[in-house]
């Protein structure tokens, strides 16, 4: 089929799509209501499996993937048709299958062979489940067969079939399955019936010709816009669909094992009332249902016609083999809906391309700032039009920058969507009942940040499940509902995003943290306020978990979480009340690419302070400055003594103002530490484009990044946390 075409160029797209489909599948599996599954969701899960199988089959070199999805698809097909009741252990198995599939995709992506052991294990499990179903189906088919007029099993089946019956005579012509001619024939020997709808006469001829190449055509029927072919072939129904797909959509094709309707035309005169179940219905229409419908219809009309009422026991098997590229009503709109929903409204673009655009726009903004600076010296009367133009440019550049930055923004849903699974599994492992609620999934955050927030957030969620929320018994004893609540939320707050993880568990145990802190030699007393005590759990090696579990308690957690968050330019806070729960709050900047900065001058040099850390600035008066040692001073501000750090000392700037009372003190806050930074002048506040220093150089102590100023020169952005550490180290000495 693909002779001469290099399919490998499409692999990447297929892998991306497969990953997305698998993610969708997992989400759908998790929200599925086991007792009353939503048919749309089941269909969507089925379609995801089917699409992956189709893709894997097309390329022909992802055998494991195709086989695994095939087995999964079969099972899903039974479930969505209600032939197999959904159970919780099935969901577990499907989730596991999804994991195996994800690994397989990853392996194929890296041009490796997937893990055969995992593949065989999961396939065996899936087959076992399928066998279980096969046994059940035959058992179900037997009563239907003996059902007679008032068989309860036949009733619902008949109802299901009825909607298509009003078409009367016309329908009967298509109602071949209800008229099994060769009742003795075992299902395996029934010829394959392929029906293509909404097809032009020309295409129908082409299809018929194609089919003739694949097997022996026994019979074919053509109407104005449809084609039905009965054939004997060794080709699988998948292959047939694949061939048809060169001419028509898969959705138009319906394949089933069916007897050739030699007497179909006679049948139309025989029983006009015969309903036409599977002609129209889902391509895989259960033959059991069809015959049961026929049986009850026959019973109702009072003309028991033996051959029809006696379904072949083997037919259910034939029905199950049917390929459900659901031909008509049900399948098609749903399939196109899913397709157009995700593909037509988005474009897949490489991150490098986006970053390049962002860089270019950054350049534009700098150039524009340069123009503004130059133009400000011009006479506004003489250069009226130029200045207007520059103003316009200013606005456009700003809008453009905002629009471009928004490309990198991704909804928090990307992160939150993985937690239902984490919670479900961890809770099951811990024997706890936990309800997860998420708010603000649509809140957007820069892509680079969103990827880095996953690990810390997962850690916090696991902590809540492990230590926060109690066991159902403990909760009942405490007078709470046995089901614990875990809430994840995200919201914008100013130029920052606030992400909260809160539970209604037992809260932090003050006594235990206190004792642990004492045993580790930390400076705590009975009177240390809660807030300060809670901060201790962020210290390296601090864990109060009574036992190390699979999920948490090794004490390497919270300090790593805090370090990660700080690395992203954010901070983390914790509040807790005994018996009522714990809330962890992460505050992050929206993006790392742009920063609100305050530019300050020291000597001849310009530095940028991140505005989010600046609380106030002042010119210190002599009585506010207290000297505590040869080189150390503190600033007395409203009852608080702040250590003074001179920027010119840290960066060895010459020609700076050294007299404290003539300099400007900028009060900075990093976490819970506040200190005063001495600079010569404040220049102004503006947004700066953050430029990485490490890409061509290396990390500079005390500097977090650099930016380019309006005049084209480079200014360094001060790393407030590093300065904080400097002051802290000083305090320790």
């Amino acid at each position: 089929m693909s002779a001469g075409v290099d399919l490998s160029q499409f692999f990447e797209t297929f892998f991306d799509e497969a990953d997305e489909l698998l993610a969708d599948m997992e989400q759908l599996l998790l929200v599925l209501d086991i007792d009353n599954p939503d048919i749309d969701q089941l269909n969507a899960i089925f379609r995801a499996a089917h699409s992956i199988k189709g893709g894997a089959g097309t390329f022909g070199c992802f055998g494991h993937l195709a086989e695994t999805t095939h087995l999964l698809e079969n099972l899903l097909d039974f479930i969505r048709k209600g032939e197999m009741p959904l159970r919780k252990d099935m969901i577990d198995l499907f989730l596991e299958t999804k994991d195996v599939l994800t690994e397989q995709v990853a392996a194929y992506r890296n041009s490796e062979e997937p893990d055969v052991a995992a593949y065989e294990r999961i396939c065996a499990q899936l087959r076992e489940l399928a066998l279980e179903q096969a046994g059940g189906a035959q058992a179900a088919a037997r009563p239907a067969q003996q059902a007679g007029p008032a068989a309860p099993q036949a009733e619902p089946a008949a109802q299901r079939a009825q909607p298509s019956s009003p078409q009367g005579e016309d329908a009967v012509r298509q109602a071949e399955p209800a008229v099994p001619q060769d009742v003795q024939a075992p299902g395996g020997e029934l010829p394959l019936r392929l029906r293509v709808t909404s097809v032009s006469a020309k295409d129908a001829d082409a299809l018929a010709a194609e089919m003739a190449l694949l097997g022996d055509i026994l019979h074919q029927e053509k109407t104005a816009d449809s084609l039905a072919v009965w054939m004997r072939t060794t080709a699988s129904s998948d292959d047939l669909v694949a061939v048809c797909c060169f001419i028509v959509d898969a959705g138009q094709v319906d394949i089933a094992h069916e007897a050739v309707p030699q007497q179909a035309r006679h049948a139309s005169t025989a029983v006009a009332a015969a309903p036409a179940p599977s002609g129209q219905a889902t391509g895989s229409a259960s033959a059991a249902a069809a015959s049961a419908a026929a049986a009850s219809a026959a019973a109702a009309s009072g003309s028991p016609s033996q051959p029809r009422a006696e379904p072949s026991p083997s037919q259910p098997a034939g029905g199950r083999n049917a390929v459900s590229n659901s031909a008509n009503e049900k399948g098609k709109p749903a399939a196109t809906g899913a397709g157009s929903g995700s593909s037509s409204s988005t474009i897949r673009v490489g991150v490098e391309k986006v970053d390049q655009i962002i860089n270019l726009v950054g350049e534009l903004v700098i150039t524009q700032a340069m123009l503004v600076q130059t133009a400000s010296t011009l006479d506004p009367v003489l250069h009226d039009r130029l200045l207007n133009g520059i103003e316009q440019l200013d606005r456009n550049a700003r809008d453009l920058q905002e629009a471009v930055m928004s490309i990198r923004m991704m909804p928090m849903d990307y992160v939150f969507s993985r937690f239902p699974r984490v919670v479900r599994e961890s809770a099951a492992k811990m024997g706890k009942q936990i309800k997860l609620t998420t708010y603000g999934q649509a809140t957007e955050l820069d892509k680079s940040l969103i990827e880095r927030i996953i690990d810390p957030l997962t850690h916090l969620v696991r902590n809540s499940i492990d230590h926060g929320i109690e066991t159902p018994e403990a909760r009942r004893a405490a007078g709470k509902s046995p089901e614990g609540n875990l809430v994840l939320s995200a919201q914008h707050h100013g130029g920052q995003i606030v992400i909260e993880v809160s539970d209604d568990g037992a809260g932090l145990n003050r006594e235990r943290i206190y004792r642990k802190a004492l045993s580790q030699g930390m400076a705590v007393t009975e009177n240390t306020p809660d807030e300060e005590l809670w901060q201790l759990i962020f210290a390296p090696g601090f864990s109060t978990a009574e036992k190390v579990t699979d999920i948490s308690g090794r004490g390497v957690g919270m300090d790593v979480v805090r370090r990660n968050i700080q690395g992203m330019g954010g901070h983390i806070q914790l509040s807790s009340r005994a018996g009522q729960g714990t809330t962890t709050r992460i505050v992050l900047p929206l993006t790392l690419a742009i920063l609100d900065g305050m530019s300050v001058r020291v000597g001849e040099e310009t530095f940028i302070l991140p505005l989010s850390h600046v609380t106030e600035s002042m010119q210190p008066s002599a009585d506010q400055v207290r000297r505590i040692s040869e080189t150390e001073y503190v600033l007395h501000v409203r009852g608080e003594y702040l250590p003074i750090v001179a920027l010119h000392n840290i960066f060895a700037v010459e020609g700076a103002v050294t007299d404290i009372t003539r300099a400007i003190a900028v009060v900075l806050q990093a976490e819970d530490v506040r200190f005063a930074l001495l600079v010569d002048h404040l220049i102004g506040q503006h947004q700066v484009v953050v430029k990485n220093l490490e890409s061509n150089y290396r990390k500079i102590p005390g500097v977090s990044a650099a930016t380019i100023l309006g005049d084209g020169s480079v200014a360094l952005i001060v790393d407030v946390f590093a300065l904080m550490r400097v002051t802290r180290d000083k305090a320790m000495i």
Partner: protein
């Protein structure tokens, strides 16, 4: 005729290599031209000083939106007469996807050297440690010291690359 034979020779001898020739204190050095991105005049105004770094790191500059470190070879190799005049240039190098600027006394030439014109690196001291030299090029009366600029700039002693500075 002459041109023609020259171009023939060029085609025949594929081992020929082009070098950018720059000067440091009257000595000529050659570096692989393929590592050179561009050559710019030195403008001390546009270089932002960085605190607490070795003195040969002049600072960082903005090269069309990219922040590029500027290294003065003359300071690094303790040459006398480090002065910045209209001949002082910055050679912008592109090494392993990094961009670095190198200040030299001047750029004089781009020369094609055949393998036969390159002899082994001398064991005597030059400004560069011999481990960064690839050989000596001779072209009539001129002698070029050929430098493996990539190895030099990513070396530990230049302290330009993070992992080299443990």
């Amino acid at each position: 005729m002459l041109n023609k034979s020259a171009s023939h020779a060029e085609q025949a001898d594929t081992t020929g290599q082009e070098f950018l020739v720059f000067t440091l204190a009257a000595q000529e050095y050659g570096i692989d031209i393929l590592k050179v991105q561009e050559i710019r005049g030195y403008d001390s105004q546009s270089v932002t000083r960085i605190a607490n770094v070795p003195p040969f790191v002049k600072g960082v500059t903005n090269l069309r939106g990219i922040i590029v470190p500027i290294v003065d070879m003359r300071i690094k190799f303790n040459l006398e007469n480090v002065e910045y005049n209209h001949q002082t240039v910055v050679v912008i190098l592109n090494l392993q996807s990094r961009v670095v600027g190198v200040v030299v006394d001047g750029v004089s030439d781009v020369l094609m050297l055949q393998q036969s014109q390159i002899s082994a690196a001398p064991q005597f001291g030059t400004a560069f440690s011999t481990e960064y030299l690839t050989g000596i090029g001779t072209l009539g009366e001129r002698m070029l010291i050929l430098v493996d600029i990539e190895k030099l700039m990513t070396s530990e002693e230049m302290a330009l690359v993070e992992n080299a500075v443990a």
